[in-house]
Symmetry: C2
Subunit: 199 residues, 2 copies
């Protein structure tokens, strides 16, 4: 005998999520049966549908938002002269959580990857161009990841913007703060040496 159909269906649905195998999905289902009433089960279902229906990309920076314009672009206290370019909305939230950055963002929603057929048209580079031709912008900080695609994308953006009167910079890569050198990988170490600073 297998599970009743309603359980089996829900197990299969939960297994769609990353890192959720059969045992974990079954634990979620039995938790729903034993520890949640119909009301709190509905809350989960509603939160899923509402999020999927309401979430969209900010018309200015492509960050995720429930509105037309995201809360960062709306915030008049942010420094509109600096735009930090990231690959994905998740990067925006990571930087907001940790760093003391007070400028605006631009989310590419991807990186250039010719091998996968992802060229400049497939990511939000045109809209970045539209934003920086605005006189307010003085600096573009490129924070794409330190992978081959991330570097290619950074170089491409630098080239596109090179004739404009603004500073284009790249965030620093190196050994993470607090990490013992012996645990850093070779690439990170060579980047760290390359990015050395006079003290």
């Amino acid at each position: 005998m297998s599970f009743p159909k309603s359980i089996e269906t829900l197990v299969t649905e939960f297994m769609k999520y990353p890192g959720v195998g059969r045992k974990t999905a079954e634990r979620f289902v039995f938790y729903t049966i034993n520890n949640m009433d119909i009301e709190s089960t509905k809350n989960v279902a509603d939160a899923l549908i509402n999020m999927k229906k309401n979430i969209n990309h900010c018309k200015l920076c492509n960050n995720l938002t429930d509105d037309e314009i995201c809360s960062i672009c709306k915030d008049e206290k942010r420094d509109a002269s600096t735009i930090l370019v990231v690959e994905s909305p998740k990067d925006v939230f990571s930087i907001e959580e940790s760093a003391n950055y007070k400028g605006l963002y631009h989310v590419l929603n991807g990186v250039l990857s010719p091998a996968d057929g992802i060229g400049p048209e497939e990511i939000n580079i045109k809209s970045l161009w539209d934003r920086v031709t605005n006189k307010l912008v003085k600096e573009i900080i490129i924070a794409t990841s330190s992978t081959q695609e991330g570097e290619t994308t950074a170089l491409y953006i630098k080239r596109v913007l090179q004739d404009l009167d603004l500073t284009v910079s790249r965030i620093g890569y190196g050994v993470p703060v607090g990490l013992n050198l012996e645990y850093a990988d070779n690439l990170t170490l060579s980047k760290a040496i390359e990015n050395r600073k006079k003290i």
Copy 2:
């Protein structure tokens, strides 16, 4: 800045599930945003609600079922003379998956635990009595777990049924098959010695 409200709400809902911390919940939400369309998101939500609405306890054995009577109790090929008593529906599915058991089940939905105020009235012992007074039943196999509460429950059931003309047995406890002796805990080892068999 924190996440947009619709994301934050869903993160909080996912975090209700066992073993799901903030990072995992965020991963589920971003997976929903990036890898699922509205249709498959609805499938998850519907599966949740449907399961919670349809699932209930079998009128005979208390196992989980979408119907009045579970598929095991309905199955006329099963041996109605043997009833295996377990603590929870999950135990039924575990035994069905692994073992070659062809009889029926009885789900207690709990164990006796006087310290927590759980007496015979709180678990399905009365309905077991009603079933075994049926002439068909010849053997009751008690498979409650090998904890203090599980043992107390097994002893209680044995006492309740002792005047009836049927065999009451307990499943064997001992060293798991394939486990090296040095990894077995003391209690399991002493149980294994107690349950020794002449060879």
